[in-house]
């Protein structure tokens, strides 16, 4: 899933029917990255994560501008705990190679098993496997669109390995790369996602399947405009199937097994969230003049020479919507968490916490409102008649009453093992 984003003039970019980034925006995004900094690739996983937190302007801008968030977090002094074990990478690649090695015979067999009974099976030599290599992401996207058109017009089976698709994110194009797309003889297309987590006795880890489904939804979304064009060109009805094929190792082996995953829900969510993403243009426009996230890398190309305070100021210029879920999805999360904790924001304790607290935004406000004899805030939210405050006072009183009745032994003060 190597995906790239490019700031070069996208004259050839077939982001079908979508407005390409304006030259002024591209210039502004280049400024934000800093001179000579290549834009960072954005993959479907990151896209799905971005769509999961559409209120975060900071992430929308940094991702939209293709800024290396991991390097930024490092320079800010709050590096992300990310990375992938090489064992997992090797295993993932070996499994994918195994599944797709024989010209797709195995993959199409798995797909056919999940289709309605009675569908004629594809013969191995009837499956077209077009070559999709081309220069640059725009070239590969164009090549993919062409191959999809030809395969659909031919009316047979076709397997496209690692096609490249463009999807518009907050007003600028991003390129995503599904593991495979299968063209059916009836003109419909199926997204194939190959994952290396196991399916044991027909069931896989729900969280991992959910992540894969969200990722696949991004691919389906990216295929839809292409399908529209191909349909108009060939005169056939072209549909992107909303059931994707998830291929995983079976039990404890690396023999593949597959399941059809319905991604309609994820598709609707992702579509809605991507539409909600504030346009990068608007966010960039609201920044103070001269704001940049340039790290001013030293001669080694790794060490940032820009003072962290200056960077922090630039990052603070655009608002974030931190929640603990960010920790697993965003490289900058530790920085945002630090800030959020310093401000005492209640969201640091979980996204759901806000629900019961009415207008109270910080831990200090909540504790002050809960405490007896606290000065009454003059404004209505957080005031004495606010139902949230009444409930909090009651909770605090009940808690204090229960704790005063029993002596809770404190933790032992001994040298801890893992600190």
């Amino acid at each position: 899933m190597n995906v790239s984003r490019d700031g070069r003039p996208a004259s050839a970019a077939p982001v079908a029917g979508r407005p390409a980034a304006t030259p002024s925006l591209r210039r502004r995004l280049t400024e934000l990255r800093g001179p000579g900094v290549r834009p960072r690739s954005l993959d479907a996983r990151a896209l799905a994560a971005l769509a999961a937190n559409p209120g975060c302007r900071r992430r929308a801008l940094l991702d939209g501008a293709g800024i290396d968030k991991a390097a930024l977090a490092q320079a800010l002094g709050s590096p992300a705990a990310y990375g992938q074990s090489q064992f997992a990478i090797v295993r993932g690649h070996a499994f994918e190679a195994r599944v797709t090695s024989d010209g797709g015979t195995e993959l199409l067999r798995l797909l056919h098993e999940r289709l309605p009974p009675g569908t004629p099976p594809p013969a191995p030599d009837e499956v077209a496997t077009p070559d999709l290599s081309a220069a640059g992401p725009e070239g590969r996207t164009a090549r993919t669109a062409l191959a999809l058109r030809e395969a659909t017009a031919a009316g047979g089976w076709a397997l496209l390995r690692h096609p490249m698709l463009a999807v518009e994110v907050a007003g600028s194009p991003a390129y995503v790369e599904p593991d495979a797309v299968v063209v059916h003889p009836d003109g419909s297309w199926t997204v194939v996602e190959i994952k290396s987590f196991p399916m044991i006795d027909g069931a896989a880890d729900a969280a991992k399947v959910g992540a894969a489904a969200r990722q696949a939804a991004v691919y389906v979304l990216a295929l839809e405009p292409v399908a529209g064009h191909v349909g108009a060109y060939t005169g056939r009805e072209v549909t992107v199937r909303d059931r994707v094929l998830l291929v995983c190792p079976k039990d404890f082996s690396n023999l593949p097994t597959a399941a059809a995953v319905d991604v309609r829900k994820q598709l609707a969510t992702t579509r809605r969230q991507l539409a909600r993403l504030t346009r990068v243009e608007d966010i960039a426009g609201a920044l103070p003049e001269g704001t940049t996230f340039d790290l001013r890398l030293g001669d080694d190309g790794k060490t940032a020479t820009r003072p962290p305070e200056e960077l922090a100021e630039a990052v603070e210029a655009v608002g974030a919507a931190y929640a603990p879920e960010c920790l697993a999805a965003c490289e900058l999360a530790f920085h945002c968490r630090k800030r959020s904790r310093e401000e005492g924001a209640v969201e640091t304790l979980g996204r759901g916490v806000r629900g019961e607290l009415g207008g109270l935004r910080t831990v200090a406000e909540v504790l002050a409102a809960a405490g007896p004899g606290a000065p009454e805030p003059p404004v209505a939210p957080g005031g004495p008649d606010d139902p949230a405050v009444v409930a909090l006072r009651r909770a605090a009183a009940l808690r204090a009453e229960a704790l005063s009745r029993t002596v809770v032994p404190g933790p032992r003060a001994e040298e801890p093992g893992c600190h």
């Binding site: 992938q84 006795d201 640091t348 979980g350």
Partner: protein, 516 residues
Amino acid sequence: MSLIDTLARMEAVAAGRAQPRCTVRHRHLSRRPLVLVPLTTAGEAGAPLGALVGTDREKPALLAVPQPRDRELRFAFLAELAEAVLPYTDGFADAVEWEERKETDPETGKKVPVQVELCADAPQLLVPSGAGIEFVRLLGRSMRFRRTAEQEPEAPYPAPPHVPLLGRWLTHVGERARVPGSGLLLSMTDLLTRHWATGQSALEDQHLGALLSWIDPPPGMSGRAAAERAECARDADGQLLCPPAGPATDPAFDNRLLAPAMARYDAGLPGAEEALRALIEGQLRPTWDAVWHGVDLLRALPEGTRVAERWKRDRWSYTAHRDRVRAGEPPQPRQDDAVTAAQKLSARESAQARLDAQEALDDPLVMAGRRLAGEAFQGTVTAVEMAMSEGKRPMPRPLVTLRTDDRPQLAEGVRLHRPLADGRTQTAEFVAFEGDDEAAPVVRLTGGMGRGKTPEPGSVPEPGDTVCWTLFEHSPRGGPELPDPEDTPWTHGGPPPGAAGAPPDAPDPVTTEDFL
């Protein structure tokens, strides 16, 4: 998260250390638990990398797989694990008590009392985190269908002896861990988060090191600073100071230390195996110590009154599985049939309801949460008016008026429950608010007063007494009975094929190529 827990978390933020969520310990903690800290190989299913296991905190047994892709080495690991775990689980099998139980006589069809064995104690496995519980289940699944050379002399790649048996035990405790309030297999993070509220989110509480940092920060450090250090701090080599509690390893450890060490092992360099074992132990040992640190913290809490009753259910569960193993029954199937699945769900639901009720009755702090939610109320008795029921044989039905600050969700006729001093539950019903004053509910006692015309002494509260009524039952019963698996209706797939004595699940196929 309820408001009272949110408040506790905020107090923890302000105080810089975790705050109590309970005043007693709500889980049984064995005097001699078996701690298991496993590590797995990234990207592989069921390829363990190593483990520390044992009941002696000073002397854990280190099991390590120098090359997880080698089937022989994985088997050797599992055999060693069986040697470490099975003597412990078997050690509780023979000390038994006798219990009377009603069973249906097969000839007469009547319920007759029989004496049955109940193991006096049961094993308790402790793992660091929820992911550890999942890994125990996975290990159980990967082992229980294996065949030893004794069972199938012809089959290639026989499993070492005892490995299938260990798989069945791990599957059993893994399945039992899904029953709320059970104690055969527990994770330290679950235990600690049940009893303390930290100043971070529930998501971050899954990190055992960070969680312990909040509960018991090192001297001179705030919980927040210690937790952030446990999560992120790395040494000069980029290795975490507090390794993850597993079973997943830190990618930086895999890439910078483990992979080169494995390459040296594969090359057959002298001392490479010892170096690998030392590496793996270095990742495991901090977690091992952290689990025992958590055990110490939990032992300082007094045990809740009703914990022993729940532990007895665990002992029944252990005894039942011991009997199944002794009877030579086949391993647990890959998938439960419809009736078994429904039974398990219903058992878990009633266990959850029972747990919620018992925790509240054992612990005023938990009860405070239920009172805040309007599911219970406590107050002082202001008046007691004697009344009798109508009917042939009038029974005492006293009316008790309370003064309370709680705002329970009451409607006329709502059933109420109250524990009596002798452990029985007294039932009552809500009548009305006196003078429409929400702070003065009137309650009619409907039971727990004996059979006489005058209530037994102590069974009716007196003015000035403090009483606590709950809207929930204290010993909730399960749902309706389910049919036998042989009578599964067609709506649920009909009788399972295994019910008629079909052969049990076949082992996973082995292949000559070692695929991992």
